[in-house]
């Protein structure tokens, strides 16, 4: 780990992280608020019209329990977009973007092994994701408290929710950073990383909307982050293992690939 590179990277990302952090706190707060204020109304609507039942579920989440609502909150496109800014946008441009701009030249002229550069950037993005997930959970906790729903939100399970969420999003960041280390331009790295994220999302949503395709959810990383199950004390260690593997494989690939890459002079 290189301290100067780590702190400079955080400095560059700090404003973006602060804005998204505030948005995630607000989003996290909104989920228990919606559940507290409207769950009865929604439940009534569902009993009168089965179409609403389908509409009130999204991914693995629903609006009938606090856990289901929080699961829905972590799988909503808005959250995907906010966390994707770092897990895809920042990670996919971390190396390829510097290479494209030509600044990787002066960085790699310093006495820092490429693996150290890579691990430092990985750590910089992973820590930011960790903080953002924590802020999302803080928002959820505050929202539950404001709606007097803390009895449905076992605080002891929140660290596990945090860990699972971090592993999920760091897995996407790990893939994106590996793509970034493999291309000379940011475009292909962003495209590949975004495709990976969207494919996972598509498989999860497809399975939730179409029961015949429910099998597809098993192949989505999003399916391995179930807030409701963790809060209920039914966390599946396999979910953590799968997300951990999705972190480790691209990381291992990049740590082998990046130091061996020939970096020709930028065009």
């Amino acid at each position: 780990m290189n301290r100067a590179l780590l702190f400079r990277t955080w400095s560059w990302l700090s404003l973006r992280a602060a804005v998204i952090g505030v948005a995630l706190v607000a989003w996290g707060w909104l989920m228990p608020f919606l559940y507290g204020q409207f769950s009865d109304v929604i439940r009534d609507m569902v009993t009168t019209n089965p179409v609403f039942e389908q509409m009130s579920s999204f991914g693995s989440g629903n609006l009938f329990t606090l856990g289901g609502t929080l699961t829905l909150g972590t799988q909503h496109p808005l959250v995907i977009a906010m966390l994707g800014v770092f897990a895809v946008g920042t990670a996919a441009t971390a190396i390829a973007g510097e290479r494209q701009r030509g600044t990787l030249e002066v960085l790699l002229a310093r006495p820092i092994p490429r693996r150290t550069v890579y691990l430092t950037l990985f750590m910089a993005v992973a820590v930011i994701i960790g903080v953002l997930i924590a802020l999302l959970l803080v928002g959820m906790y505050v929202g539950a408290a404001s709606q007097s729903l803390l009895d449905e939100l076992p605080a002891g399970q929140l660290p596990l929710v945090w860990l699972n969420g971090v592993l999920l999003w760091v897995a996407f960041a790990s893939f994106s950073l590996a793509a970034s280390a493999s291309f000379d331009r940011a475009g292909p790295a962003i495209g590949l990383s975004l495709g990976y994220l969207l494919l996972n999302y598509f498989l999860e949503i497809l399975g939730s909307l179409w029961t015949d395709a429910a099998w597809s959810q098993e192949y989505s990383l999003f399916h391995h982050f179930q807030v409701a199950e963790i809060l209920d004390g039914n966390a599946d260690p396999l979910d953590l293992a799968i997300c951990g593997l999705a972190v480790a494989l691209p990381l291992a690939y990049a740590l082998v690939r990046f130091p061996r890459r020939d970096l020709a002079a930028p065009a």
Binding site: L108, R110, I112
Partner: protein
């Protein structure tokens, strides 16, 4: 064409006994089937400014990037400061200052922040920064501005400072005067002169012949990925042919038998020719009361280079700037 006086493969150790600062042995780099660098064997002596000269695409940057670990050699090997480029690359970079060709610096930072950041990454105190900034006219006010507001020349100055601010044992400079105005080029040459006086070694790639002639002790000529020759610049200039123009009063004597004089052309009382070798014997031979005017054009590296390339691929010559 006169045969080249030195063999590219001559190791400096055989001539001076000094351990080369850069030593390559059959260094080869291929991109797939494309040979970017072939069988490069070269020694750069301690304390010299070595010019690596060749047209664009000749393999200069490939050589530098292989020495610094950006590229991995296909075959052969090299040492820099006595360390193997394949296994001790990080330590090499710790002791080296590198100015990449067409340098890009972090646009969002101010000049001074960019230099601070790069010094932090280098892990060595920027002892020379103040002196370099003063000589390159990078004032505090300029350094406080963001790099994105800099002209190309100012970015290049920042590039020079970041490469040399930590007082490296070896400076590797890839076309360092690109974008610098003539005044700043002179300041830069003076900085190189000082580095040489302090015993630092500079490996200097350029396609600008006049600056290599101005600053370098030796020059390696690279073409199509192959090192064609290595010369002392002074020796190259001394050996090259000169253009001679002589005007006589009255009849023109027969000059065809004068040693070293070739391509003699007579136009009335004026004779033009090319002279190979020493000037003094020639001047003594033509000394006469009838000699009205004598012009011997100063030898330039550019002409030596063009002469060397005569009969070669035209692209190799056209790519050179004067």
């Amino acid at each position: 064409m006169e045969p080249m006086p030195s063999d590219p493969g001559d190791p400096a150790t055989t001539a001076t006994g000094a351990v080369p600062v850069i030593s390559t042995r059959s260094l080869t780099k291929h991109y797939g089937r494309v040979a970017a660098l072939t069988d490069l064997t070269l020694d750069v002596r301690p304390g010299e400014i070595f010019g690596f000269l060749g047209p664009n695409g000749a393999g200069k940057s490939t050589t530098i990037r292989t020495l610094l670990g950006y590229l991995h050699a296909t075959s052969g090997g090299a040492t820099v400061l006595g360390m193997d480029i394949a296994t001790q690359n990080v330590e090499i970079r710790r002791l080296t200052g590198y100015l990449p060709g067409g340098i890009a610096v972090y646009d969002s930072l101010s000049g001074s922040d960019a230099l601070d950041y790069l010094a932090d990454l280098q892990g060595r105190a920027p002892h020379r920064r103040a002196e370099l900034c003063e000589r390159l006219q990078l004032s505090d006010a300029v350094l406080k501005r963001r790099v994105r507001d800099y002209s190309r020349g100012m970015r290049q100055k920042i590039g020079v400072v970041q490469a040399l601010q930590h007082d490296p044992e070896l400076a590797i400079l890839d076309e360092p005067t690109e974008g610098l105005d003539p005044l700043m080029q002179q300041s830069f040459y003076a900085i190189l002169d000082d580095l040489r006086a302090e015993g630092r070694t500079v490996f200097f790639s350029s396609h600008v012949l006049s600056e290599v002639e101005r600053v370098c002790d030796r020059v390696g000529i690279v073409r199509a990925g192959r090192l064609m020759a290595v010369h002392e610049v002074a020796d190259l200039l001394r050996r090259r042919r000169r253009k001679v123009s002589i005007t006589w009063r009255g009849s023109v004597p027969d000059l065809t038998d004068l040693p070293g004089l070739e391509d003699v052309r007579t136009d009335g009382g004026r004779v033009t020719a090319t002279l190979a070798g020493e000037v003094a014997p020639f001047v003594r031979a033509i000394a006469s009361p009838n000699l009205e005017d004598l012009t011997i054009e100063p030898a330039s590296l550019e002409e030596a280079f063009l002469e060397y390339y005569a009969g070669g691929e035209p692209d190799g010559v056209e790519g050179l700037d004067r």
